[in-house]
Amino acid sequence: MRDETEFVCGGTTHIARPEPGASDAEWGEYLFFRDNPKGMHRERWRHAFGCGQWFNVARHTVTHEVRAVYRLDEPPPPDRPPPPDEAPR
């Protein structure tokens, strides 16, 4: 197990990058707008003080529970509701 301080969060993952021909509005949406969910959030992390690998993490933004860690080319895991004793309060 590695310490959390070795890792750096790189923000939301699974963002489809628009084609170069995208409209200004689409491009602006891509550049500047992100969801800020209370609940499960999929983001990409880098093992910055280690191997340098980027990978995806599904993290709960309230409890910080890490629900899944998966490769960049893998699809996101399906959401499942948190067990009742861990429900955010």
Binding site: P20, W27, L72, D85
Partner: protein, 969 residues
């Protein structure tokens, strides 16, 4: 109040045959080994310890532990000065020297006490009101002088601190009976168990009573291999069960010599499960003048008697609305302290709770306290008729008890919720928190048998990965609310912040009714004690004022730290030279020997210049720059970022990274490139050269080396995983010895360099691989940041000093110079070369710095390209890089000076980004970002700096060699 030492067997923690001399306010005093400063002062009959935060009221020892709000002292001198140490936690040692806080000239006669006369003018929120009217500025200096506690140290800490990481399966916080039972339960179930306790001894409240069961439990825990850390306070629970704890390694009096000692150790503990067994804090009652020295917590007086053998007074009066006071009264009497009366606010105290031979005044309350610097007596009246005084009691000690407040802080930090128990008047955990279970008094389980049994079950359950069993809450006895708005007088709720019941009432009247607002408006619950004895009383009062139950008012969310932590412990070893270790050049010693004046540039420690005796840094930079322009110079460019990029798709990958097409370069050719982020903003620049068909050499800026490598990796891994590319940062592997100036090649030729590197054989912006004798590989890039003929000789870092020495051997015949960063900055500014980060900011696009045309030519996509096509990117009024020369030809413009040509109020049009005296031209030149700068060439603008205005002309850089002939040699 007349404290004294009790005869043995009282004082279980004392070593009576070991006296300890210490100093308090300059006075030499004697205590016993085992004493805290508070117990030693009490034993010496000292009641007055300090002055209060706002009103400078005399204060004494109020408690016997972490909750202390009044007996706060400054300890030590100079590099060993520690501010605001709680006297109740401070063991006395030889050499210990402590001082009262917030008083002048002395704690007995304090000029600041006049503040008390103005107290009616200083209600809660007083200074917020001065923000509005009449003016905060009138009051600020006086308030800053008068308010506060200890003084900050003025010199660096003389001692050392360190940090350690640990992991365990089960972590138990607290060493009382519940903590020990939990640790035994966990260890018996096979879990690696760590127990941390803030005190020096285990056992908790039973420990100082000499309880045999708790001693046996401790022995069992140790025999089961439980790892125990004492004097270690767990102050924070963070994500994923990271618990931070601070261990006191050596005490305040430990060091007297110059040698640093290890003072504290910060533990970062990862635990699969955490068990909080932090106990409970006694809650005081609120009555008039309840802050006088001699008014204390009841339980504290019992602990002083039993653990420290100290009678806090001779004649005590107990005031309570809790059953818990009765056994405590009996314990006090057993210790030899006379109890004049027990005043119970409740009309019908539990009959069984009454102790024989104890005078109980039911349905009564204290309505006044006599004595300012020490209690001399109190007046008692019926609760319902405070004006009808019943009796005066000639006591020197008033002990109050309104039941307990479980220490739920760690539970709350871990995300647990609380619930209010009406009968006991306390908040307890509402079930377990994620990853953390509470046991014992901090869970609301007060009976010792019940607490031990439950804690053992919790330890076992968590060790086995099962959910913890529910806590059998109870055993604390019934308590009334403890606070009331009915009585009159200055009744303190928060003793540390001088918050009174009237302040709470005022907050309610002014509609600061939320518990969060109440805290900020009155400052109750702030300070070093974090409201341990005041929070619950404050919100009970607020509930009374607003017709709500305490549960409705609720508590503020507890956040780490649980108790004050020194900055030293948090900083650990990361101080001084280790705060941010500098990177040193491979030829560092060689530069040092050749007169370099070093400065830090980003992470690097590099020569700023090589001044001669008596020469200033500026003069040296001018001489060195001129030396390069007239002849030749040597620069250590080793910090320049270096990446090697390999693979069949390396060319297309670099095309995506840089503005400027790299894939079309022939082997041996090099090209300048700008690196953008996705917003199109310039984030780095550099030179890309092709070493082979599938092998590229990338130079980044010195400060951008790591950032650029990280950006390349992120794009490769996250966006272009199909490109077959390998990126290897090699910055520290290769040194860079730069030779620049019209005679640069001549210098190299005389030093025996290969003719294939001659300007005729090797053009500007090309790269050749070569080797030194002995097979040391060289990668020689013809590039220039000075504007002169330049060779950047990259070679394995170990050989940098050898090459410098070899070239410097020819310096005299070449009249060559060594030049540093300052001279380089002079020359690149003369040439108008971009310094990313200085001449650009977080909005600068390539077109703003003169690289707009390349983009139109480059059809292929690259990072940031789409953003450059947004309308905002094409605005002709954007900040654009231009040259500036002062019209008077003399005034050096200041970097950061603002450009505003029209009369105020007018928008700022830009700012100076680089500015140097040009030795070549003999006048100052500058670069600036100017709104619409590209079409304003020839205009005059006004440049403002610190009240001075300079008129400057907008010009098109470069200032020197505008045709760019010199770089070709």
């Amino acid at each position: 109040m007349s404290g004294r030492r009790l005869p043995a067997p009282a004082g279980r923690w004392l070593e009576r045959d070991r006296p300890v001399a210490f100093r308090f306010n300059g006075r030499q005093l004697t205590g016993l080994r085992g004493d805290t400063l508070a117990s030693a002062l009490l034993a010496n009959g000292i009641a007055l310890v300090g002055r209060s935060f706002k009103l400078h009221r005399p204060r004494g020892v109020f408690s016997c532990g972490i909750e202390e709000s009044c007996a706060v002292v400054d300890v030590g001198e100079g590099g060993r000065h520690t501010a605001n140490v709680r006297a109740t936690l401070l063991p006395i040692e030889e050499n210990l020297s402590a001082r009262s806080v917030n008083c002048w000239p002395s704690v007995g006669f304090d000029v600041g006490a006049v503040t008390g006369w103005f107290a009616p003018l200083l209600p809660a929120g007083f200074y917020y009101k001065t923000f509005k009217w009449p003016s905060w500025r009138w009051f600020e200096p006086a308030i800053r002088r008068m308010a506060g506690l200890g003084s900050a140290p003025t010199v660096p800490d003389a001692d050392r601190y360190e940090e350690i990481a640990a992991s365990t399966e089960v972590l138990v916080v607290g060493g009382g009976i519940a903590g020990l039972a939990a640790a035994v339960g966990a260890a018996r179930s096979g879990a690696a168990t760590l127990l941390v306790a803030s005190g020096a001894r285990l056992g908790g409240t039973l420990g100082w009573r000499g309880d045999a069961e708790v001693a046996a439990l401790e022995a069992t825990a140790r025999s089961l291999g439980v790892r125990v850390l004492t004097r270690t306070l767990a102050f924070g629970v963070y994500d994923h069960n990271l618990v931070c704890a601070c261990e006191t390694v050596s005490g305040e009096g430990a060091a007297d010599g110059a040698r640093p000692v290890l003072r504290e150790r910060l533990w970062r503990i990862r635990a699969r499960a955490v068990i909080a067994a932090a106990g409970a804090i006694e809650r005081p009652l609120v009555f008039p003048d309840n802050d006088r020295p001699g008014v204390m917590l009841l339980g504290a007086a019992v602990k002083y008697a039993q653990a420290y053998g100290v009678a806090c007074g001779a004649r005590a009066v107990i005031v309570t609305d809790s059953d818990a006071a009765y056994p405590a009264a009996a314990a006090l009497r057993a210790a030899g302290i006379e109890v004049l009366a027990l005043i119970d606010r409740r009309s019908s105290p539990e009959p069984a709770a009454g102790a024989p031979l104890l005078r109980v005044l039911a349905d009564a309350d204290i309505v006044s306290v006599a004595g300012a610097r020490a209690v001399r007596g109190c007046a008692v009246a019926p609760v319902a008729a405070a004006f009808r005084r019943r009796e005066r009691l000639e006591c020197d000690l008033i002990l109050s008890c309104a039941g307990y407040a479980p220490a739920v802080q760690l539970h709350s930090q871990a995300g647990g919720r609380l619930r209010w128990l009406e009968d006991e008047a306390m908040f307890v955990p509402d079930g377990a928190a994620p990853g953390l279970a509470s046991v014992g008094a901090c869970a609301g389980v007060f009976g010792r048998a019940a607490a031990a049994a439950h804690a053992g079950e919790v330890g076992e359950a968590l060790a086995r990965g099962r959910p913890p069993p529910a806590a059998p809450v109870g055993g604390a006895g019934r308590s009334g609310p403890g606070a009331s708005v009915r009585a009159r007088g200055k009744r303190f709720v928060d003793l540390q912040n001088d918050v009174t019941a009237d302040d709470v009432r005022l907050a309610a009247r002014e509609n600061y009714r939320s518990v969060e607002h109440l805290k900020r408006y009155t400052t109750t619950g702030m300070g070093t004690d974090q409201g341990r004895t005041s929070n619950v009383n404050a919100l009970i009062l607020m509930g009374e004022c607003t017709g709500r139950e305490p549960a409705e008012v609720g508590t503020t969310r507890f956040r780490p730290p649980f108790a004050p932590v020194t900055l030293g412990a948090i900083a650990g070893r990361r101080v001084g030279a280790l705060y941010r270790p500098l990177k040193r050049l491979p030829a560092d010693a060689w530069h040092e020997a050749h007169g370099a004046l070093f400065e830090s540039f980003g992470d690097w420690w590099r020569p700023a210049a090589y001044p001669r005796a008596g020469e200033s840094l500026d003069a040296a930079a001018q001489r060195e720059a001129l030396g390069v322009r007239r002849g030749a110079g040597l620069l250590d460019g080793s910090p320049l970022g270096k990446l090697e990029v390999f693979g069949p798709d390396a060319g297309p990958f670099l095309d995506l990274m840089y503005v400027g097409t790299m894939s079309t370069l022939a082997v041996g050719q090099a090209r300048y490139g700008l690196l953008l982020n996705e917003n199109g903003v310039v984030v780095d620049d550099g030179v890309v050269a092709r070493l082979g068909e599938q092998h590229w050499w990338v130079n980044t800026t010195s400060s951008g080396a790591e950032r650029t490598a990280a950006a390349f990796e992120e794009w490769r891994q996250c966006e272009y995983p199909r490109l077959r590319v390998l990126i290897t940062p090699v910055t520290s592997r290769w040194a860079n010895v730069t030779v620049a100036g019209p005679r640069a090649w001549e210098w190299l030729a005389r030093a025996g360099f290969d003719d294939r590197l001659a300007p005729a054989a090797m053009k500007h912006m090309t790269l050749r691989e070569s080797a030194l004798a002995g097979g040391v590989p060289l990668r020689v890039l013809r590039a220039s940041f000075s504007g002169e003929l330049g060779y950047e000789i990259n070679l394995p870092a170990d050989h940098a000093a050898t090459l410098f020495a070899r070239l410097w051997d020819r310096a005299d015949e070449m009249q060559g110079v060594l030049y540093g960063i300052e001279a380089l900055q002079v020359m690149r500014t003369e040439k108008g070369y971009l310094h990313v980060g200085a001449d650009t900011d977080g909005t600068t696009l390539p077109g703003d710095v003169g690289f707009g045309r390349g983009i139109e030519r480059k059809a292929a996509n690259f990072v940031g390209r789409r953003s450059l096509l947004r309308p905002a990117a094409q605005d002709p009024d954007r900040l654009q890089l231009v040259g500036l020369v002062p019209v008077d030809g003399r005034t050096l413009l200041a970097v950061g000076a603002q450009i505003a040509s029209r009369r105020a109020p007018a928008p700022i049009e830009g700012r100076v980004t680089s500015s140097v005296m040009s030795p070549e031209l003999g006048c100052p030149v500058a670069l600036a970002l100017l709104a619409g700068g590209a079409r304003r060439i020839g205009e005059e603008v006004r440049v403002h700096h610190l009240g001075a205005m300079t008129t400057a002309r907008v010009v098109r850089p470069p200032f020197v060699d505008p045709e760019g002939k010199r770089v070709h040699g």
